[in-house]
């Protein structure tokens, strides 16, 4: 009954505007069409094709000849059955810097070698630096500071081939790749190439492949053949915890090998 908060039935979740199940969704897009009544019709037709009802154009703006921008509100009657969903994100136990070091000491008992870089022509290094460098991120140390980690940061604009050569030379347990420029799917191209190179060498099982960046999700990473992906808001210890537990699991040494399964 409506007097209980969080009363939405998890079996049929709909968007919420100001009433349960009103299904209200906001949308905006540009159509490569001249501004006018026809463009309006096209926008409404498009939203209807998405299975939304009562589409309403609240704003339409001609950008230049051949382009019109729209802001639309519509009602979404699609529902999601949350009881059927299971978060695919890597289920590792969260650990602090100290906990990770203790865990490695106990379960692996040798320093873990990790190597990282911002690859291809991507010059964005702040992300990978914040994971690997001593300074770290938001007051939390990077892996360089961990007692049981040996972290190597090759910096930015590093070709995949150069990264791999160094990784194999150092017998790295994990390769960490950062990708920030995503326009035209550049990151997809760079990341796929890396996986292919490792597989071509027949070394895929020997090393953890981890990628990250503002527009990398764990879902995407796995789709591309990586072991995990990390996005905005990641802290070095999140990554360290994953690596430690994953390595332990693979070497069958973890307390709960399942944890990283």
């Amino acid at each position: 009954m409506s007097s209980v908060a969080g009363r939405a039935s998890l079996e049929a979740v709909r968007p919420y505007g100001d009433h349960l199940d009103d299904g209200l969704v906001q949308m905006s897009f540009t159509l490569p069409v001249d501004h006018g009544p026809l463009a309006r019709e096209a926008a409404l037709a498009l939203v209807t094709q998405m299975g939304l009802v009562r589409p309403e154009i609240v704003h339409a703006k001609p950008l230049t000849k051949g382009y019109t921008y729209f802001v639309v509100f519509a009602q979404c009657n699609h529902t999601v059955d949350c009881s059927q969903l299971r978060a695919t994100s890597s289920s590792t136990r969260a650990m602090s810097e100290e906990q990770v070091d203790a865990y490695v000491a106990e379960h692996i008992d040798r320093p873990l070698v990790v190597i990282g870089a911002s690859t291809g022509t991507d010059t964005h290094s702040v992300g990978i630096d914040s994971i690997l460098n001593l300074k770290g991120f938001d007051g939390r140390h990077g892996l360089e500071a961990y007692h049981w980690f040996r972290a190597h940061n090759l910096g930015s604009q590093v070709p995949n081939t150069a990264l791999l050569a160094k990784a194999f030379e150092l017998r790295a347990d994990a390769i960490l790749v950062s990708q920030t420029v995503t326009q035209q799917g550049l990151h997809l191209h760079n990341l796929t190439e890396l996986v292919e190179l490792v597989e071509a060498e027949g070394r895929r099982r020997d090393v953890l492949l981890i990628c990250g960046g503002p527009r990398i999700s764990d879902e995407l990473a796995k789709e591309l053949g990586f072991d995990a992906g990390f996005s905005k808001g990641t802290y070095p210890n999140d990554v360290a915890a994953f690596i430690a537990q994953e390595v332990a699991a693979r070497e069958g040494r973890s307390a709960d090998a399942s944890a990283a399964a």
Partner: protein, 519 residues
């Protein structure tokens, strides 16, 4: 606070004098009159609440009953008090009996006046005690948990369903909101009764009922305790039940009430005299229970041109202020309204806004002035609205407004969706933090754009006030001096509810709460 505008103090004094005279004229005009709403309020202050078998609120059943035999001129209190003495019932019991038709007040013989008055005084004192206790509780909790620094963010919910409003209010609290105001269903202002019980169906707002007040206040008390910060609740003393809602608010420990002397007349077409009588009682009640009232001058800038109408805002602020003072509302409870409504395409619009907002601030140094966001010129361009809100936030903090109604990106389209307010709050939080001390830091060029504009607006407001003293407030309303809306004195809803009081009119509010002179 040092003056940044260098205003002409003599002119300010003269404005205050004129407005005080206008308020006095209103008091005369309303003297010796009561209204059905005032009488229903008296009933509530005697403890009458609930509904009769036909779901008619008992205060209405009672007052209608008394009206049927033209008993209003003596005051509903007299009839109820008499019945209490004669039938040895409590006021609520008397009302209930009247409600179910088992008791006819007009047919009872008159008991001794003194006994009647005592019965009424006792019943009233009982209700007052309960209200005072509730408000003391409120003050204690506020004191104990503390609040955020000003400006306080005043955020509207308007789902129509009190339980949805509750969730929306919690989201606002999470986002840092300070005051939750549940907007009322569009129909309520025109109803000559207050609906009873929790409600889940309203349009453009949720009905103001005492049950809804409690549901909201309970949820906010719970959140406040859990999060160590007190969040306020507000509603609207507006429409044909202004005074009754004030009583309900006192009973439920509300913190604020929108309460404007002229809004109902201008924007709801309510009868002028009726509204003038009602607002006095309504504000008297708000005033004596520590409830902050918000006036609505912001509205003028939505129906009249924001630049031309600026002086009318100031004139109205002075009038609203003295009408409130007249019924005992102290300065710190009078939040005078203003808004950021100059069209986005006006050259130097921000400088005008800065001058206007600073002017209100300096004219009423001891009042918690209230500042409203741009809405009139907002449309479906959500980002444009958000940009306007950002500058609005800047002026709010730079001019020390104490209460800010936040703007939301969808202001031009619909009442906020649950996340819209959070987006608005994030913008307000950002600007208040980033510009925290801007007001102290900058000075206006002497004789520059802002100082000159402020002086000009004050001069024109003064002229308006002088004129209003001459012609009277009612004629001013007829001439459309406020919001370009003209209302004539003998039309308007609710006029039939005005009653001349007779010899021996009894009204306990007199004294107990600072009652309007006229009653």
């Amino acid at each position: 606070m040092r003056s940044k505008l260098g205003l002409d103090a003599g002119l300010v004094r003269s404005c205050r004098a004129a407005a005080a005279r206008v308020a006095a004229q209103v008091a005369e005009a309303t003297a010796g009159r009561t209204t059905v709403a005032v009488e229903r309020t008296v009933a509530r202050m005697l403890g009458v609440d609930g509904v009769d078998p036909h779901d008619v609120p008992l205060p209405n059943a009672l007052v209608d009953h008394v009206a049927d035999f033209d008993g209003i001129p003596r005051g509903v209190a007299a009839w109820v008090g008499n019945a209490m003495v004669q039938t040895d019932r409590s006021a609520p019991e008397v009302a209930a009996a009247v409600g179910d038709g088992s008791l006819a007040l007009g047919e009872l013989p008159w008991a001794e006046r003194e006994a009647v008055e005592r019965a009424v005084a006792d019943a009233h004192e009982k209700t007052l005690a309960a209200m005072r206790a509730r408000c003391a509780e409120r003050d204690a909790l506020r004191e104990q948990l503390g609040e955020q620094p000003r400006p306080h963010r005043y955020v509207l919910t308007a789902t129509g369903n009190v339980y949805e409003d509750r969730d929306h209010a919690l989201a606002v609290a999470e986002a840092g909101g300070d005051i939750i105001a549940v907007i009322r269903s569009t129909a309520q202002s025109l109803l000559d009764y207050v609906p009873y019980g929790p409600t889940t169906e309203g349009y453009g707002g949720t009905f103001a009922t005492q049950a809804n007040f409690r549901i909201m206040r309970d949820a906010l008390d719970e959140w406040s305790r859990a999060n160590g910060r007190y969040v306020r609740l507000s509603s609207f003393c507006s429409g044909l039940c202004m005074p009754e809602i004030a009583a309900m608010g006192a009973a439920e420990g509300l913190d604020n009430m929108v309460n404007d002397a002229l809004y109902g007349i201008l924007y709801r077409d309510l009868n002028i005299l009726r509204t003038m009588i009602d607002q006095r009682v309504s504000r008297a009640v708000n005033g004596s229970f520590g409830i902050v009232i918000n006036t609505g001058e912001d509205n003028y800038l939505r129906t009249a041109d924001a630049l031309e109408a600026a002086p009318s805002v100031v004139a109205s602020q002075f009038i609203n202020y003295f009408l409130a003072r007249d019924c005992g509302v102290p300065d710190e409870q009078i939040a005078l309204g203003n808004s950021f409504e100059i069209g986005p395409s006006i050259e130097n619009g921000l400088l005008y806004e800065w001058a206007h907002a600073q002017l209100t601030r300096e004219l009423f140094p001891d009042c918690p002035v209230k500042y409203m966001p741009p809405t009139r010129h907002m449309d479906g361009n959500l980002f444009m609205t958000h940009a306007c809100d950002t500058l609005f936030n800047l002026i709010t903090v730079a001019t020390d407004q104490e209460i800010q109604t936040i703007g939301i990106p969808t202001e031009g389209i619909f009442t906020p969706h649950i996340h819209d307010r959070v987006l608005g709050m994030e913008g307000s939080n950002y600007v208040f933090t980033a510009a925290r001390d801007l007001g102290d830091e900058i000075e206006f060029k002497p004789g520059g754009f802002i100082q000159s504009r402020a002086a000009e607006v004050l001069r024109d407001a003064h002229a308006m006030l002088e004129e209003i003293v001459e012609i009277g407030l009612f004629a001013a309303l007829e001439r459309g001096m406020f919001g370009d809306v003209s209302r004539s004195r003998d039309t308007g809803r609710g006029g039939e509810g005005i009653v001349e009081v007779a010899e021996g009119y009894l009204n306990p509010l007199h004294g107990a709460v600072e009652a309007p002179a006229g009653v």
